[in-house]
């Protein structure tokens, strides 16, 4: 019994550790949201704001196509943050496009913690 519990705990913590969920920090996510990344080719600096805007309760605009993006704030758009695969897919794409690299698990957790407060 004890042994099993230990294994469960162990595996649970290895699952959670990389995601540093306990440390997810909405303030860090908010700062990351507006942080601008200058582009080497001289094009406009990029941030999450580029497509989603500063006010997450308002719709955004896909910067490359002009398509309207529904508000990111779960308080006004209950569809948001409901599908883990969708979240992961977009964070992968959007981090690569905005930061020029994939986000760390910690950065992703911060972004989600921030969006959840909106």
């Amino acid at each position: 019994m004890k042994r099993q519990l230990a294994i469960v705990l162990l595996s649970a913590s290895t699952l959670i550790l990389p995601a540093t969920l306990w440390a997810a920090d909405p303030a860090a996510g908010a700062a990351g949201w507006t942080k601008e990344y200058p582009q080497a080719d001289g094009s406009a600096a990029r941030s999450c704001v580029t497509c989603h805007g500063r006010d997450l309760t308002q719709p955004g605009r896909q910067a490359n196509t002009g398509k309207v993006i529904e508000p990111m704030a779960p308080s006004v758009n209950s569809q948001r943050l409901t599908d883990p695969a969708k979240i992961e897919k977009w964070l992968t794409r959007n981090c690569r496009w905005t930061l020029g690299r994939e986000c760390t698990a910690g950065e992703k957790a911060d972004f989600i913690a921030y969006i959840k407060t909106q």
Partner: protein
Amino acid sequence: MNPFPFKSVLTLLLSGTLAMGSAHLAFADDDDDDDERGREKSGWFDSRETLAPVVNATYSEECGACHMAYQPGLLPPQAWAQIMTPDALANHYGDDASLSEALRTEISAFLGANATDVAQQMAPSGASNAGAASGSLPRITESTDFKREHDEIPARLVTGNPEVGSFSQCNACHRKAAEGNYDERWIDIPGHGPWKD
């Protein structure tokens, strides 16, 4: 007659991907007729017909997130294949459209089965077959037929028009583009209105 659905059926049947529930199947009978091929060279741009609407929910969701989900019939199968490689998706016309392997496979199969047949494709000019770099990906808007249909439209109504942005946003001007209907009757250019030529 619109040649496009007939060819799609051929591809559909050949590839054996029948799960898509496409209305194209209704035309299956005409498909064995080899003579049709020669006569169909003109392509859908001249056909004045409605393109088969997009009928795959996964495709509509994934490939309609940033722009309208282009009808598969707008490009030949090899062009879609180029667009759908993992590298090309990660460098997608200046954006990142990367997909999980499962989604990529599903969408590739759908596009392959519903694309325009090679025999009547709009030969993309300027688009090289070189590979994944975003600059060299094939474009509907780079095809000779597309350019011929759109060469009288001044840039100020397109790139100079914040409500359009580029020719890639078909649905900004073609009000029924999402239904595959590009008939001139339904053209309404933002800030300009219907097109009279």
